[in-house]
């Protein structure tokens, strides 16, 4: 934001909500004491007019990029060595906040996939499969430690390659990734206690395809339990965010992980499909869109492989009239604007009890005015760059459909950088359940607001979706939290919080949000074959 105004003297140009599409009038008439006939002149809880840019400026606080030593070219990681793709082809990965190239990355072929799977297969034999659990555990602890030691480097690289704000990669992604390795390290030599009455054997070679929204974190969710259980892996990171996975290859080398235990192949979606369909693969794990999840399930149909899918969502974030409103507003903002809303479990449908809809929306709009959109490497940035042009186009198209279908759009006045893929935090009110913005996963900073009167109606609306990944409940009443949690058909229920993750906490969906769990003891189950004692 670059509005050059003095505190208390808001720029008149910024007193109206602006929109990347067209200015749209407010849909909800203000009902709070801060409202008035001409709301743009009335002070609100921040002492500002509605929707205007905050009248102070932050000095730039960029995190240094020097900690990252980018190579100009990255190869595949197969059999413990960095190798060029067999065809010699490469692709470019860019910084979505500047659209400038970061590095050239090997584009794997099916021959490379085959090589990687064979390498993983060999490692299931002596070097990893026959290694005692206590030794596997120590390798995983080492990896966790190295990730902690190199956390700043990973955080900066993650923000450069994905567009996510440095404060999130630094405080959420990387610490959680290290924590996942730490958590599963401890399981490696305790498998006999994990599943009573059963012997847990590794499945063999795991093929893992991960998305671009939490590149290293998703890598850790996939690799840590697989290795703890004695499997070896071939992982394909998303083609727009391969760099932290390739840097992780260096962590494996530093940890002296035996060759072939972790293999990383980079390339487009078809390489992921070739990987999961490879006959040398025993177990497939995929995180990504529901559409691609269906393709993968079809692609391996009849092959007898184990499959876990962590897919899309359209989570309801339900706010009751007794909720602590300021806390709820923070939770709503965190629920949908965290990681630019590019989160499968994002709280993208706000369900507000009718009696508090007015004041809540007012508070939310005030809060939106303080959100800082811009350079992902700036430590003050709340919302960074959208991951790719394709994703930005998808968000733009869905937001346009929301306007066309009659919902009321609100966006705070804030300047966006001239280059890069950016989108304003967006709030829709007067949304109907039939609107596309209430049904389809947008995967962007776009919140659709609906209202309800009774808990029963909230449950019905919340469950009215083919998805079932997560849900949020905001109320002061513990018994209501548990009643709602019981009735919501979703795999993760957050009460008076949202978007919380922990390696010990199983995560995964109901219905078309996928099956299988990641995290906790339940996350281990996907990577073992249970034999009778």
């Amino acid at each position: 934001m670059t509005t050059e105004t003095e505190p208390g003297t808001p720029d008149s140009a910024a007193t109206e909500p602006t929109s990347s599409l067209e200015p749209v009038a407010r849909g909800t008439e203000p009902t709070s004491s801060t409202g008035g006939p001409n709301r743009s002149e009335a002070p609100n809880s921040w002492g500002l007019g509605d929707g205007q840019a905050i009248p102070w400026e932050y000095a730039p606080a960029p995190e240094s990029r020097d900690v990252v030593k980018l190579k100009s070219r990255y190869g595949l990681f197969i059999g413990g060595r960095e190798v060029a793709a067999s065809g010699g082809a490469t692709f470019i990965t860019i910084d979505p906040s500047t659209e400038l190239p970061l590095a050239e990355v090997a584009r794997a072929t099916e021959a490379d996939v085959d090589k990687a799977v064979r390498s993983a297969r060999r490692a299931t034999g002596k070097s990893w499969g026959q290694l005692p659990g206590r030794e596997r555990a120590k390798y995983l602890f080492r990896i966790a430690r190295i990730l902690q030691e190199r956390s700043r480097e990973f955080a900066v690289l993650e923000s450069m390659d994905s567009g996510k704000p440095i404060k999130e990669s630094r405080d959420v992604d990387i610490p959680l990734a290290a924590a996942h390795f730490w958590y599963y390290a401890g399981w490696a030599d305790k498998l006999e206690y994990a599943f009573p009455g059963r012997i847990a054997k590794p499945r063999g070679v795991a093929a893992q395809v991960i998305p671009w929204n939490f590149p290293l974190l998703m890598l850790s969710w996939k690799i840590a339990p697989a290795l703890a259980a004695g499997n070896t892996v071939v992982l394909k990171p998303a083609s727009t965010t391969p760099l932290t996975a390739l840097l992780f290859a260096d962590v494996c080398r530093q940890a002296d992980l035996p060759a072939g235990v972790v293999n990383i192949v980079t390339g487009p979606g078809e390489i992921g499909m070739a990987l999961v369909r490879h006959e040398g693969v025993d177990k497939v794990a995929f995180t990504g869109s529901t559409a691609v999840g269906k393709l993968i399930a079809k692609g391996i149909a009849g092959q007898g492989k184990g499959l876990t899918l962590e897919l899309g969502g359209k989570a309801a974030n339900i706010v009751f009239d007794d909720a602590p409103l300021d806390q709820a507003v923070e939770g709503i903002v965190n629920g949908i604007y965290f990681n630019q809303g590019e989160v499968c479990c994002a709280g993208s449908r706000l369900l507000v009890q009718e009696s508090i809809a007015g004041p809540l929306i007012d508070k939310l709009k005030d809060r939106l005015a303080t959100i800082r959109v811009g350079d992902p490497l700036d430590k003050n940035t709340d919302v960074g760059a959208i991951n790719s042009k394709a994703q930005l186009d998808k968000i733009t198209e869905l937001v346009a459909s929301g306007v066309a279908e009659g919902a009321d759009l609100y966006q705070p006045a804030c300047d966006l950088p001239e280059r890069g893929f950016f989108f304003r935090p967006t709030l829709f009110t007067n949304v109907a359940q039939s609107h596309r913005i209430a049904r389809e996963e947008i995967f962007g900073p776009v919140l659709s607001t609906l209202t309800f009167r009774t808990p029963e109606e909230a449950i019905e609306k919340a469950n009215n979706t083919p998805y079932g990944l997560s849900a949020g409940i905001w109320t002061d009443k513990g018994s209501r939290i548990l009643m709602m949690a019981q009735r919501l058909r979703a795999g993760v229920i957050w009460a008076n919080t949202f978007n919380k993750f922990d390696p010990a906490s199983p995560f995964g969906g109901y219905k078309e949000s996928g099956y299988g769990r990641e995290g906790g003891l339940h996350g281990l189950l996907a990577y073992v074959r249970l034999e009778d004692r």
Partner: protein
């Protein structure tokens, strides 16, 4: 055509034969299609006419199942356990009928038929006892960072389509049906195609037990006609493919993928026709209950 005989009565008396019908929503309709097919012994002797259910019957069954889901899932664990136990109680009373149907339908002697009925009854008892232990064995409380009580509990998946084992007409069916029910799911079963009679008699037991109508729906007919519809139905949440022919496994799984159905399949290397359902160790497993459960994780705040 000799009906399945329930012992021999006075020579002069003419048997009252049973009409084998479908079981949908707690009622016993004939197929809306009006079709039947002839059920024979393995030796080729005719036994009875069974309904050849249609796609429409299957869709009706799914509708009935969906309607029954919420109340069944909401039963207390112990109540559900008692209801399944009562199925075992009532099966005891029909023992001789099951034995007759199994020995005729499966072509086994009375001793083997009796053994498989005994085990089928015991299997209900074994699974019934799981109802109020699942949460403790499969759930967890999770030590997360932050002020939250974080716990994970199993919940039923929803409507489960079950393609029953083809050879073991009663014990195989009960071994697949009971684990789905005990977790709180509702079911649409496609019975053994060649040996459906004992399955139909089981539905008569279910109808007089305390299992609510719609919780189990059972169709007899051609698997080749019914299974593709079951696999493609978007209101079916999971499918147990045990009893499908290996050649159609890929097609069924591919179709099921369109709505992200949970898929249960025979363990690698297991052939339906050769699986020994009387091996209690192998044929009754808590993993088969878990196959149709969803794990729900709740973050509950801790604070003053």
């Amino acid at each position: 055509m000799p009906s399945v005989r329930l012992g021999s009565g006075p020579a002069a008396r003419i048997d009252v034969r049973k009409t084998y019908k479908l079981y949908i929503g707690g009622a016993f309709p004939r197929t809306e299609s009006g079709r039947t097919y002839l059920v024979e012994t393995p030796g080729g002797d005719p036994l009875a006419n069974a309904c050849q259910a249609s796609r429409k019957d299957l869709r009706e069954a799914v509708r009935a199942a969906r309607k029954a889901f919420e109340p069944w899932a909401a039963r207390s664990a112990m109540n559900r356990g008692q209801i399944l136990y009562r199925v075992a109680e009532l099966m005891e009373g029909r023992r001789e009928q099951f034995v007759a149907e199994i020995s005729a339908g499966e072509g086994v002697n009375a001793a083997r038929a009796r053994d498989s009925v005994d085990r089928a009854i015991d299997r209900w008892v074994w699974y019934a006892g799981w109802s109020d232990k699942l949460g403790q064995v499969l759930g967890s409380s999770n030590p997360v960072a932050g002020s939250y009580f974080n716990f994970t509990i199993p919940e039923p998946t929803g409507v489960v389509g079950i393609v029953a084992p083809e050879r073991s007409s009663l014990l195989g069916l009960v071994s697949r049906l009971a684990p789905a029910l005990v977790g709180g799911n509702v079911t649409v079963v496609v019975a053994s195609e060649a040996r459906p009679l004992a399955a139909v008699t089981l539905t008569e037991v279910l109808a007089t037990s305390d299992v609510p109508g719609g919780v189990v729906n059972l169709l007899t007919g051609r698997k080749a006609e019914l299974v593709p519809v079951l696999a493609a139905h978007v209101d079916v949440d999971a499918i147990d493919t045990w009893g499908i022919p290996p050649a159609s496994q890929a097609d069924v799984e591919s179709s099921a993928a369109d709505s992200i159905k949970r898929i249960a399949r025979r363990p690698r290397g297991v052939v339906d026709d050769r699986f020994d359902w009387t091996d209690d160790r192998a044929a009754q497993r808590p993993e088969w209950i878990a196959a149709f459960l969803e794990m729900k994780t709740v973050w509950h705040p801790i604070g003053a």
